[in-house]
């Protein structure tokens, strides 16, 4: 399928940018006229991935986060990338309630939420190099 629109953004790994990233993704997706619930799901998933890049990827230090959004006829693909520490064991990271940072009161539900709120979730990561999350959400035809 041909993309009908796309954009790329990079921003600093600051927690104040979590809501900014959600607004950007939702504003772009709104070109497809999604329902309020679909838009809320997308915002939540984007928030999870961006928060992970900030907390886990860059361990709350400085760094750049990259987000790419690609619109198709009836779906959006969002890619969120950091050049942070990377994930050693992706299978383990995906287990619901698993977190490597319980001391920060993380719930370990981030990946579970991304998986259930989006239609597909791919995680590519390399220890010491970074992490790239690719998620797609279909929007209902109206």
């Amino acid at each position: 399928m041909q993309p009908i629109n796309r954009m790329k953004i990079e921003f600093e790994s600051k927690s104040v940018n979590e809501s900014f990233a959600r607004i950007v993704a939702a504003a772009f997706a709104s070109q497809l006229d999604p329902t309020i619930e679909e838009l809320a799901d997308l915002k939540t998933a984007v928030s999870e991935a961006v928060t992970n890049a900030i907390i886990h990827g860059y361990e709350q230090q400085e760094g750049l986060i990259f987000m790419e959004c690609i619109l198709y006829e009836d779906s959006i693909t969002v890619k969120i990338t950091d050049h942070g520490v990377g994930i050693e064991d992706i299978e383990k990271a995906r287990i619901p309630a698993f977190t490597s940072k319980p001391e920060l009161e993380r719930s370990g539900m981030g990946f579970s939420i991304m998986e259930s709120f989006m239609d597909s979730l791919f995680i590519a990561s390399e220890k010491g190099a970074g992490t790239k999350i690719t998620m797609t959400k279909k929007f209902s035809k109206r």
């Binding site: 809501s19 809320a40 939540t44 928030s47 920060l104 993380r106 939420i113 259930s116």
Partner: protein
């Protein structure tokens, strides 16, 4: 920006949140509540979420953390008035099995 309002009646503390409850907002809420927990003994913590427009798993972490503290102190916790999208995150995280949501 998340707004926090506290109401204390006897040993029940109600925390009203207004705005978006994400990782950025969580630390202030945590500090505010935990300060109350050390001030006076509480039997119940109520989180009123009627004005929370967004919440992700950082909010879940916050709630579970406060729930565990209340349990340690021999008290309980409940959640009030979450909107539909908030309820979806609460349910998917299994929180609805841990505490009362009304």
């Amino acid at each position: 920006m998340l707004e926090i309002t506290l109401k204390r009646q006897n040993r029940v503390l109600t925390v009203y949140l207004k705005g978006e409850l994400d990782h950025h907002a969580v630390s202030k809420v945590k500090e505010t509540i935990d300060l109350q927990l050390v001030k006076m003994p509480l039997s119940q913590l109520i989180l009123d979420m009627s004005a929370v427009s967004f919440m992700d798993s950082s909010g879940i972490g916050l709630i579970v953390g406060r729930y565990n503290k209340m349990k340690c102190l021999g008290g309980s916790m409940k959640i009030k008035n979450p909107g539909l999208n908030i309820l979806k995150v609460l349910k998917m995280s299994g929180l609805s099995k841990l505490m009362e949501i009304s």
